[in-house]
């Protein structure tokens, strides 16, 4: 009961914040990109919160608990690079474009409504699928914790995120995302000593996990061996982690729910700093979370389904007050992603599809009204799909996320660095990349086993790149396209550039210092106990 109360109180808080901020949303720029006034803290909060969801705190937690915590962390090494590489190689140029949506950027870059529409349609289809999956995941969790039926839990989830998203748009999403970021970060860090303590204390908890006969080699770099191992030979598991890590790195770098956060940044320096802090946050959160989870295997080795491991720990291994924070934090991770997804879908429908297809420019108040109405309609459709489809189809969410790496990846980077890409190449790259991933996933669904290096995303990236290259042999590059590219390659100099640069220059040091701390923490909490176990 206490957990349900905690969740409901947090939901009410987010809704109230949405109501309060809605009064401050006066124009479309406030609604879509929070007036481009996002601080480093806010943009970091929304970057991390939009990325972490029930996939992280449930799906991946379950994978780690089953036997692969270190393999997952190897994936995260590559995954987290997406923030730094992404902001320098794409995000900051997106910020310079001053677009209100990412499809708008593609449309302006290639001076093509068709390219804009293709990007918008892939945004809407891909993110809707992900939104359904995360909404259902959150509803299943809420249903389990509260005892409410799944349809009621789904309705509550939907109300919680749709309310503040519709009312206050990007502004409300960014503020609530930042609160949620703090909530699940605190939950992860504070639960660590309690879980380790309950599992046997330090370093015994980790020694026990390393020598658990039910999960041999649990804390090895390749994960468990024996009859329950399912990731193949160590080299296959490593290849899988690296490939998936790089795919997710591309997702972080260019997917709309990540890159669009930079559109909200006050300036380019803020965008870059936020990318750095997001990297440090992800690396740290994952390390603490998965070391904790590995020790839970010795306390209760039979949690089923395994994705409930962190929730079980919240209800059985930590004090009630912390359990409430953890459970609310997991719900927050789901809610924050849902809010960002809904905001993006609504923005794209209004700005990229409706405005462009009618060849009409809405006034600001029309834009706000139309955006809110389209967001309400979309959220109701998502609710109905969530009710109709069987829950926990996490593969849909996973497919939806990684399809952007294939569909948008080649054209996103080429749009910045290549002077030879035409609108024809861009259009076909987006379409073929999307279809390539669908083809790959369909093959898997029909029982075709694909080797790890022929992951559907790889198929999509290869086809997308080919389409970009071949398609760019057709069509011409207009003066407007050249001018747009020239403008975004020109770095805007801030009025207080010297001061901003002085702050930004500290950030490499923050990364290096964090890296040294993380190495020390990893040796103390992982490598040293592992050596004792051996």
């Amino acid at each position: 009961m206490i957990y349900t109360i905690g969740i409901i109180v947090s939901f009410l808080l987010y809704a109230l914040i949405g109501v309060f901020l809605s009064k401050r949303v006066k124009n479309s720029e406030e609604y879509y990109v929070s007036g481009r006034k996002g601080s480093t803290l806010m943009v970091t909060g929304t970057l991390v919160a939009s990325f972490l969801s029930t996939v992280s705190f449930m799906g991946e937690a379950g994978f780690s608990y089953e036997g692969y915590p270190i393999l997952l962390l190897i994936l995260v090494i590559f995954n987290a690079t997406g923030y730094v590489i992404g902001v320098f190689c794409f995000g900051r140029y997106l910020r310079r474009s001053k677009s209100l949506t990412v499809p708008e950027y593609f449309g302006d870059r290639f001076q093509s409504n068709k390219v804009r529409m293709a990007a918008a349609i892939t945004t809407i289809l891909g993110i809707s699928a992900y939104l359904v999956a995360v909404t259902q995941g959150g509803a299943v969790l809420l249903s389990e914790i509260s005892g409410a039926s799944y349809p009621v839990a789904l309705l509550i989830m939907w109300l919680a995120y749709a309310s503040f998203t519709v009312l206050s748009g990007a502004k409300g999403v960014m503020v609530n995302d930042t609160i949620m970021f703090f909530l699940f970060s605190i939950a992860t860090y504070i639960s660590f000593p309690y879980i380790i303590g309950k599992a046997g204390g330090f370093p015994d908890a980790i020694i026990k996990a390393a020598t658990n006969p039910d999960r041999p080699d649990l804390l090895s770099w390749h994960g468990i061996t024996g009859p329950n191992a399912y990731m193949g030979a160590p080299w296959e598991a490593l290849l899988w982690a690296i490939i998936l890590g790089l795919v997710w790195s591309a997702v972080i770098a260019i997917s709309p729910w990540q890159s669009s956060r930079y559109l909200m940044a006050k300036n380019e320096h803020v965008a870059i700093r936020s990318g750095v802090w997001a990297t440090i946050s992800i690396i740290t959160i994952y390390l603490f979370l998965h070391i904790s989870i590995s020790t839970i295997t010795t306390v209760n080795p039979n949690i089923k389904p395994t994705e409930k491991v962190f929730i079980w720990a919240a209800m059985n291994m930590v004090p009630k007050w912390l359990g409430v924070i953890i459970v609310s934090g997991i719900m927050a991770a789901a809610l924050s992603s849902c809010a960002s997804f809904l905001q993006l879908i609504g923005s794209s429908i209004t700005r990229d599809i409706m405005e462009q297809s009618r060849n009409k420019t809405y006034t600001d108040s029309q834009l706000l009204r139309t955006s809110r109405i389209s967001m309400i309609i979309v959220s109701i459709i998502i609710l109905l799909i969530g009710l109709w489809q069987p829950p926990s189809i996490m593969w849909i969410g996973y497919f939806a996320a990684t399809l952007f790496a294939a569909s948008w990846g080649p054209v996103a980077f080429a749009s910045i660095y290549s002077k030879k890409i035409t609108k024809t190449g861009a259009l076909w790259s987006i379409i073929v990349g999307f279809l390539g991933v669908v083809l790959g996933e369909s093959l898997k669904k029909f029982g075709v086993t694909l080797p790890v290096y022929l992951n559907p995303v790889i198929i999509g990236v290869v086809l997308s790149s080919l389409a970009l290259y071949i398609g760019s042999k057709f069509g011409t590059i207009t003066m407007e396209e050249k001018e747009f590219q020239k403008n975004i390659l020109q770095r805007p100099i801030e009025p207080n550039e010297k001061e901003e640069m002085a702050v930004s220059k500290r950030y490499p040091f923050y990364l290096v210092a964090s890296g040294i701390v993380i190495i020390i923490v990893t040796f103390i909490f992982y490598y040293w106990p592992l050596q004792l176990a051996m």
Binding site: I70, L73, I74, I77, A80, T81, V84, I85, F88, L219, S220, W221, H222, P234, I272, V276, T279, I280, I283, L287, R491, I493, E497, M501, S504, K505, Y507, P508, F509, Y510, L511, V512, S514, G515, I516, V517, I518, I519, I520, V521, T522, F523, Y526, Y527, L530
Partner: protein, 47 residues
């Protein structure tokens, strides 16, 4: 051995990213100085 490499590599990735960030920011700063210098040359009529 793999565990040792992982223990170094997990935090080490942040160090590598720090070096990459340093290179990018140094270039950004250099571009600003080059721009300012070109503007000063223009103002003083130096070709």
């Amino acid at each position: 051995m793999g565990e040792f490499i992982f223990s170094l590599g997990y935090g080490g990735s942040l160090i590598v990213l720090g070096l990459i960030t340093h290179l990018f920011i140094r270039k950004m700063n250099h571009d600003v100085i080059a721009n300012q210098s070109a503007n000063t040359d223009k103002r003083t009529g130096i070709s």
